[in-house]
Subunit: 240 residues, 2 copies
Amino acid sequence: MAKQKVSPVSVDGAGFLTHVAYDSVVFGFSEGQLKILLMEYHNTGLIALPGGFIRTDEDLDEAVRLGLEDRTGITNIYLEQFHTFGNKSRHKPEILQKILEANGIHAPKEHWMLQRFISVAYYALVDISTVSLQPDALSDSCTWYEINRLPKLILDHATVIEKALKTLRFNLDNKIKDSNLLPEKFTMKDLQKVYEAILGEELRRTSFQRKMLAGRILKRHDKLYSGEAHKAPFIYSFHK
Amino acid sequence: MAKQKVSPVSVDGAGFLTHVAYDSVVFGFSEGQLKILLMEYHNTGLIALPGGFIRTDEDLDEAVRLGLEDRTGITNIYLEQFHTFGNKSRHKPEILQKILEANGIHAPKEHWMLQRFISVAYYALVDISTVSLQPDALSDSCTWYEINRLPKLILDHATVIEKALKTLRFNLDNKIKDSNLLPEKFTMKDLQKVYEAILGEELRRTSFQRKMLAGRILKRHDKLYSGEAHKAPFIYSFHK
DNA sequence: CCAAAAGTGTTTTAGCTACACCCATGA
DNA sequence: TCATGGGTGTAGCTAAAACACTTTTGG
């Protein structure tokens, strides 16, 4: 529930849809590892998913997209809503209070940011190499963390990530071609590494190759001569 | 966006999470037809999905469950959240105004119910035969409609139903055993009829039977002697 | 020529379909 | 014994997995 633009903070939340927030689980892939983007708030040690609020004149999807564009510099991010979290036990005003205090903002109890939120969660699939991270006003870092070395997170953000990953695994075959996890051109081995990182298991090389080729989503280009002493692999891109 | 308890309507929405609502697509099955529960508002001719608001002391899931229990009398409803709709184009205050007016409530422009809502949508699978419908305070009917004979609906409710049905079709094999679409005990033919109504296509009898038996979700009981001149079918129930 | 990694041919397996046939039932 | 509908055996198809083999590459 980090937010990107809090400078003019009104107590009643004018201009924003109160009680509604979004959180985004941004997946990236580099060095053979699946990674997630997390933010750390100034002077608090608190780490959270990047998120924000919805302005009264924005579509929900649009708000999420713009919030992410601000932080990653990427336009055209692959984004998908996967769940809305609305348990009342998520309401921990002392945490948000602490974050605001650490930034010199003394919010009264009735401040809209201290009230209970329903949070709509999205996941994104981005190419880490094209991202230049921009912490927001309340945070001093915005960093990639390996999926299996996550730090302690505020609220139920660990659960949110868990569910995002589950959804991603379930839909991977359908989503991979629209994702931005890999650069435009890649080898079959690159693609297999992405699958293995996401599914958390090793796959048979030959079965994987055949399954992918049967899917008709790959376009084959020239071979890649790496200078190494073995057959050169084909380069692929996703169709259209 | 019907609501179940509006008697004490405060302008600022105290006690409710403003800007958040839920809509529920309740599927039922009878007479070989898939049906959906819809409500008609007093003196307006407006027809909508049953829905409501979330109280500040309720979980989101709990609010939806209780709202449905009020209307159908069923406890233990199978409920699943499938999408959250948040386009700003959904905001049509004149419709809600009309509904309130028709009930003698003259709400000022800044009334919370006339503001923009994010709506969390759920679908439910219930056994029509155990339901006794209860219209809420703003509605004069609460009726089952055949899925392919739906009336014109307010806002984007037709889209919501479309998406609910798509989700249900996609997950049917996984959800059927927890659904309440059929009474506890049923024949293979009954089950096939449910599948056909949901998928909107006819299925081969023998293939269907084998697929279901292979799924290990059915427990076989005695035979059902209907008094008709043919082999008596087995009775089944879902495991656990 | 060798080792490493890529690509492909062949066999096996599993699930589903289609068709056939037999069985139980009450008139 | 007949018509009706339910259950299951068998053969065929297709997609995926498993295994083996060949090819390409630079040292």
